[in-house]
């Protein structure tokens, strides 16, 4: 199955190297891989590479290359799945996955690899199972403090306790020091949706889809049961009907194998006994039929004078969220014709920022309140604009290379599908007296929000 596994830093230095079958040419392979990867001509797929009877399969994870090699005709899916599972596992055990944590925890990583893969065959990837075998403790960079308020999260957590979960809380190793019992009782439940939208130049909606997942990170002792209650009007498939309103509809749902669905049909309750560590409880997706209006509409108008090479772009951005909600870190990216130079801009409010770079216009808005409207007027010159005015393209047509605009943003406390977690209940039998902290968060962000111009 797998001949070798290695982790390279973004610069190509080997951080971890492990040979499982002894059938391959030693650690030069890692170097070979990096040379091959960086020497790739554009367009060729770097996912699966072949060299000298050896196949390289890799993923990139927070700047690191996780690479598996094999010499047989195995399933690339299982290797890719395994690599991403390893990334999660290493994250679970080392706190987070990056160059620093890996090089601090070399011994731990090797120990993990030994247990996950034997002779190149996958043994287990469950955090819970592996706990029994792992001896080494993770080395964390700095001691973690729950009350370290300097690192307040990007968005506040909505919980009964109404306290703020520090953003670093979730990036703490699952196996933090055994002695420290008090910090263990925490559960993080995130509903995260990714929104892909494609809007045609005439403003009509070509395509919209939402991919969502409910992620759980648990520090509770394993074996404790928990109930996750979802919105009761939650419907699966086109035909199902629940509640009186339009309902919250998704096209397809898949659950983690440990989820007990006995009460899902009747009450939309998921029951599970989560292992410690990260877990995707549920994945769902819906397309075409969004219950709420799109969060943003962009109204662009472009004036292009090919004679003088003057290009004027007026962008109006309307946020259609409910007035109480807001969007954060909005970034608009608009590719421009080659060689565009000067730029004069008029922006509707002072906290915005716009600049030219890498052949595109970047417009940053830190925060937009629901229902508000922002605009920007940009003027630039396209030098050496080709085509004499006599039989060039008609003046109204935009020059080549302009658009499409793409938006990226985050919508805290908002799900595009409307799905909410009603409650998160823990049934406690074994654990100590301390009431566990439960953090429930909802978040939507853009995956590809593209508006053609």
């Amino acid at each position: 199955m797998i001949s070798q596994f290695f982790i390279l830093s973004s610069k190509g230095d080997p951080l971890i190297y492990k040979d499982f079958r002894g059938d391959s040419g030693g650690r030069d392979v890692a170097e070979l891989f990096y040379r091959k990867l960086t020497g790739l001509p554009g367009g060729e797929s770097p996912v699966v590479m072949y060299h000298d009877d050896r196949h390289f399969i890799h993923i990139r994870h927070s700047g690191l290359y996780l690479v598996a090699t094999t010499s047989e005709n195995v399933s690339p899916f299982s290797l890719l799945e395994l690599l991403s599972r390893l990334a999660t596992l290493l994250g679970d055990y080392c706190g987070s996955l990056n160059e620093g944590t890996i090089s601090r925890n070399v011994a731990l990583v090797y120990e993990l690899l030994d247990e996950v893969l034997d002779y190149g065959y996958v043994q287990t990837t469950s955090t819970e199972m592996l706990r029994n075998f792992i001896q080494t403790e993770a080395v964390v960079s700095k001691p973690f403090s729950l009350f370290d308020l300097s690192s307040v999260g990007l968005f506040g957590a909505e919980t009964q306790q109404n306290r703020v979960a520090p953003s670093s809380a979730a990036s703490r190793p699952v196996l933090s020091s055994r002695s420290d019992q008090s910090q263990k009782n925490e559960v993080f439940l995130d509903v995260v949706e990714r929104l892909s939208v494609l809007i045609a130049a005439n403003g009509s909606l070509l395509k919209v889809d939402v991919q969502g997942e409910i992620r759980l990170k648990s520090f509770l002792p394993s074996g404790s049961e928990m109930y996750i209650g979802l919105t009761e009007e939650f419907c699966v498939g086109k035909s199902e009907l629940r509640g009186y309103g339009p309902g919250i509809r998704v096209d397809e749902v898949s659950f983690h194998s440990s989820v007990n669905l006995d009460e899902f049909e009747s009450h939309r309750i998921l029951r599970l006994q989560p292992p410690q560590g990260e877990l995707t409880v549920m994945r769902y997706q819906l397309s075409d039929d969004l219950p709420s209006p799109l969060p943003f509409r962009l109204f662009p108008s472009v004036q292009w004078d090919p004679g003088s090479g003057r290009l004027q772009i007026y962008l109006k951005l309307r946020c259609d969220l409910p007035p109480k909600s807001q969007a954060l870190n909005i970034h608009l990216h608009l590719p421009l014709p080659r060689g565009v130079v000067s730029l004069s801009q008029e922006l509707s409010s002072p906290d915005q920022k716009a600049e030219l770079g890498e052949g595109a216009l970047h417009w940053d808005l830190p925060r937009v309140q629901g229902g508000s409207q922002l605009s920007g007027l940009f003027q630039m010159d396209v030098p050496g604009s080709q085509g004499p005015p006599s039989h060039g393209p008609s003046p109204s047509a935009p020059p080549l290379g302009l658009g499409p605009a793409s938006l990226s943003f985050e919508l805290p406390r908002h799900t595009c599908s409307g799905l909410q977690v009603r409650f998160l209940r823990l049934s406690f039998s074994t654990c100590g007296s301390a009431n566990p902290h439960k953090w429930v968060r909802h978040l939507s962000h853009s995956n590809a929000y593209v508006i053609r111009i």
Binding site: I16, Y17, G22, G42, G43, S45, P46, V47, V48, D53, H55, I59, S71, E72, N73, V74, S75, P76, F77, S78, L80, E81, L82, G100, S103, R104, N105, V106, A107, E111, D114, D118, Y119, Y121, Q123, F133, Q135, T136, V139, S141, S196, L198, K207, D209, E252, S254, F255, S257, T280, R283, Q285, P335, G387, P393, L400, P404, S406, N447, A448, V450
Partner: protein, 916 residues
């Protein structure tokens, strides 16, 4: 305390310092030191000098430290085998440690130390651990057996480890399908992948079993692990082949397959890419699964380029009349993006849509014209290349756009675009007023052009000359002299000469040849060949499906590579034959319709090395023949949709034929063939009666029946052509696809007089075995194209293998004995020939006349054993032992051959010869 500082120390005395620390008394210090050593090891520093010191640390109760030391051992034991032996005692001791974790650790590490000497010590502890009370230790020990097998397979068998392993699998019949299906619900996701892959290799008895397996596999489609999903898809795709299409269940299954595939496309780009490569195969096999899911393949702005290109490909495959408007709108958007590669591919895709969906052609052309108006260089060039293809597909429809194309003549700098433009000018020379000026402008830099452009320019100017002879005489002379006298390129020179000769001898014939009507181009030129596609479907979810190559093409040494094929569709009443006697999917018996559709064959035939074989009997040069050859060459050539029109690659041969034009037409050769076919079958090997190969309904009235004969060293194909149509047939020509033994016509098909309605002609076509070779399935399959003035027809037939048995196939006795022993036993195949009451003498004689030679004879216990040898045209020897028992009509035949795949066919040859 962090480990990162270990990476920073590079001072000289480092090794020395570490040594001191390793020998320290304090446990903590030792542990830190070993950690440092391992960190150095990872970054590639040589710390093997510390071997003895590290091994000394092994004697410890601290599990963490022990693990670290073992890690070090695994890395360096190979380079220091003698030192590694020092550690053996500790290993053996650890294997009996009360802590199961330590036992497992020791067994695992020992397996990873690939030193021969250690393996001897390994056996005893391993045997104990295989029977350990702790499941974790047992599991680790089982994997260790696999490791040991890799190092020393013999040892594993001698020690009986395999039997112990079998005991571990508590079930007595592990391959029972039901067990597997049950296990599917019980094991981890990684195990499920193995089980599903295993299921995919199983051949269900009938469609009912296939359906029940499908039903139990379907729930896996919603698994979170994409590898499980894809393996399940593979099982379903394979078993669906067996289900009847009318079944309700078939439709349900189709519907169930779409959502999981769509879901895969929302994963990470890496997974998406692999998924798309697989979907590409699935779409080609069963487009109906995803035909309503076009939207998910729309390219996202932030997709990586490799995902974009793959999506584009699938979009075109799914394009149909229903969704073409949507697709075109998308493609037009893509064509204005920034990435050059992607834009090119998008433009090309528009052209492919036009060719695929006729109703959309007009819109595609106008879209392309819009794109040409952008004046972006690479867009224009790409558009011109695809417009040329559109002209080929829909002649005389869109010529109005030529004027626009001509405006852009100057901006073309890529050979492909220039060649395409020149083709267009030449093809429509009569409608372009200044065609001669345009072509002349290209001619100026003739020698700097690429071959593609030069060839095209030559042909275009000749076309122009034939259309407007008066004004362009000078131009054509200029290009002919450039091509023939000033060029080093043989292709160009030959093409130049043949045009020259044609024009000077017979301008009318030249016109017929050069301006011949071109066959339509095929709709999809880039489809994967059907047989390969079927094989790849069996490999869904493996690397083969990503490369779109069969595993034999990239897996080392072909170890464990079995050619897989889809199961045949069966009804529950009839059971399939067992796979040993007939490879699944291969029809048995002389079925002339091995190839279902003509279209599929087209692709194969186009890869043919065109032109009659030169190394056969000398060409009988006659004008009639030459015309036929040329037309066939030209016709097939232009089918490729390539830009080489008019002069085929066969020009070399034809040119030689032309050179001999003056020679008297020798009819001796053909007389000889008539003679042989007249003398008939008395002296040669057995000849089967003629069978109908191509029924008249399938070939617009031409019926072809035939058989194969072998006469004194030459193979021929005896054909009987019957004209059942109402019109006269002329211009016959024949061509074979590449086949297993390189059979090829040794002379053109000679039908001397036109074949009038209801007339039958018998003729014999001499064959040789110097054609190009490609392994066919079944081995003796031969795909044939026959052309006449009406059309080109395709059929395929199976030739009896005995026509390939050569006359010098008698092996020396000693040699026979040695070879028989030398060929491994697994290559031996045994067959029964029933109902053949022959005595030894008669059988031997009969076989002898078909070039199966008896080397020795022996009588054992009332049985006669004949030892026989034969040789195939490609030099493969087959050794046979034929056992004849007087009074028993069944004969037993054992065959040994280094290429065991021929055995089945040799057996069939034996049976045919002996029974007739």
């Amino acid at each position: 305390m962090t480990d990162s500082k270990y990476f920073t120390t590079t001072k000289k005395g480092e090794i020395f310092e570490l040594k001191a620390e390793l020998n320290s008394d304090k446990k903590e210090k030792k542990k830190e030191a070993v950690k440092k050593v391992i960190a150095s090891m990872t970054v590639g520093k040589d710390v093997s000098a510390l071997f003895p010191d590290v091994v000394n640390c092994m004697q410890t109760d601290n599990l963490e430290l022990k693990k670290l030391v073992y890690l070090y051992l695994m890395n360096y034991a190979k380079s220091q085998p003698d030192m590694a032996i020092m550690a053996v005692n500790t290993f053996v001791k650890d294997c009996e440690d009360p802590n199961p974790l330590i036992r497992a650790l020791a067994v695992r590490t020992m397996g990873c130390i690939r030193v021969d000497k250690i393996t001897e010590y390994l056996c005893e502890p391993l045997r104990k651990c295989l029977k350990d009370e702790d499941p974790y230790v047992r599991k680790t020990a089982a994997v260790c057996v696999a490791k040991l097998h890799d190092i020393n397979a013999q040892l594993v068998e001698d020690q009986g480890f395999l039997d112990t392993l079998k005991d571990l699998i508590s079930d007595s019949n592990p391959m029972s399908i039901n067990k597997l299906l049950t296990a599917l619900n019980e094991c981890t996701e990684w195990g499920q992948i193995f089980i599903l892959d295993c299921l995919a290799n199983y051949m269900p008895k009938d469609d009912r079993e296939a359906q029940s397996i499908c039903e139990r596999v379907t729930p896996r489609l919603s698994h979170a692990n994409s590898a499980v999903v894809l393996s399940a898809v593979k099982v379903l795709m394979k078993f669906m082949e067996m289900l009847s299409k009318d079944l309700d269940y078939y439709g349900t299954l189709l519907k169930k397959l779409a959502p999981p595939l769509v879901t895969l496309l929302s994963a990470e780009p890496e997974l998406q890419y692999v998924a798309l490569r697989n979907i590409n195969l699935i779409v080609q096999k069963r487009p109906e699964i995803l035909k309503h899911e076009m939207k998910v393949f729309f390219v996202k702005y932030n997709d990586p380029i490799y995902v974009k290109l793959e999506k584009l490909d699938i979009m075109i495959r799914l394009a149909s009349q229903a969704n073409i408007a949507q697709v075109l709108a998308e493609l037009k958007e893509y064509a204005t993006e920034v990435d050059v590669d992607f834009v090119r591919k998008a433009v090309r895709a528009i052209g492919r849509c036009a060719i695929k969906v006729e109703q959309s052609a007009e819109r595609c052309v106008s879209t392309l014209l819009d794109l040409i108006q952008t004046k972006v260089n690479y867009v224009v060039q790409e558009a011109i290349v695809v417009i040329k293809d559109i002209f080929r597909k829909y002649p005389n429809k869109y010529e109005s756009v030529i004027a626009t194309l001509c405006e852009n003549l100057d901006s073309l700098d890529e050979p492909e675009a220039r060649a395409a433009m020149i083709w267009i000018v030449g093809e429509y020379a009569e409608r372009i007023d200044n065609a001669d000026e345009l072509l002349e402008s290209f001619l100026e830099g003739f020698h700097d052009e690429s071959t593609q452009v030069q060839l095209q320019l030559l042909t275009a100017i000749v076309k122009l000359f034939l259309k407007k002879p008066t004004e362009t005489q000078e131009l054509v002379q200029q290009v002919l002299s450039l091509a023939t006298q000033d060029s080093d390129n043989p292709d160009l020179r030959d093409r130049g000469y043949i045009y020259w000769r044609l024009l000077s001898t017979d301008p009318v014939a030249a016109k017929e040849v050069v301006l011949a009507e071109k066959p339509l181009i095929s709709e999809e030129t880039d489809l994967i060949e059907p047989t390969l596609l079927d094989e790849l479907i069996c490999y869904i979810g493996t690397l083969a499906s990503v490369y779109h190559k069969p595993p034999s093409a990239f897996v080392e040494g072909g170890r464990g590579v079995v050619h897989k094929s889809l199961p045949p569709r069966t009804a529950s009443s009839e059971s399939t034959e067992s796979p040993e006697t007939a490879p699944a999917g291969a029809p048995s018996g002389d079925q002339p319709d091995v190839i279902p559709a003509q279209g599929d064959l087209l692709g194969d035939l186009l890869n043919l090395d065109l032109g009659p074989p030169v190394s056969g009997p000398p060409l009988a040069a006659s004008t009639v023949q030459m015309g036929a050859v040329d037309l066939l060459g030209g016709g097939l050539d232009s089918l490729i949709g390539d830009t080489n029109f008019g002069a085929p690659p066969a020009a070399v041969t034809t040119a030689t034929a032309t050179a001999r034009l003056g020679a008297p037409i020798s009819s001796g050769l053909s007389d000889l063939f008539d003679l042989t076919s007249g003398v008939g079958t008395l002296s040669g090997s057995y000849v089967a009666p003629k069978a109908v190969w191509l029924p008249a309904i399938k070939a617009k009235g031409l019926e072809i029946s035939g058989t194969f004969t072998r006469q004194v060293g030459s193979i021929s194909m005896d054909l009987q052509l019957t004209n059942k149509a109402l019109q006269v047939m002329t211009d016959f020509a024949i061509q074979f696809n590449r086949n297993s033994f390189g059979l090829a016509p040794a002379a053109p098909l000679q039908v001397h007089a036109p074949l009038s309605p209801n007339q039958t002609v018998e003729l014999s076509l001499p064959l040789n075995t110097v054609g190009s070779v490609m392994k066919m399935e079944p081995l003796n399959n031969l795909q044939v194209a026959v052309k006449n003035n009406i059309d080109v027809f395709y059929f395929s037939t199976l030739y009896p293998l005995h026509v390939l048995f050569v006359e010098d196939g008698k092996m020396d006795r000693q040699m026979f004995l040695a070879t028989w022993k030398d060929i491994p036993n697994e290559n031996e195949a045994q067959f029964q020939i029933r109902d053949c009451p022959l005595n030894t003498e008669a059988a031997s004689n009969k076989l002898q006349s078909s070039n199966i030679f008896t080397v020795a004879k022996r009588s054992v216990e009332g049985q006669d054993m004949l030892y026989q040898s034969l040789k195939l045209t490609n030099g493969i020897w087959v050794l046979a032992e034929l056992r004849i028992q007087p009074g028993n009509p069944s004969l037993t035949l054992s065959l040994k051959c280094r290429a065991p795949e021929v055995s089945q066919h040799v057996y069939q040859a034996y049976e045919t010869i002996l029974k007739n």
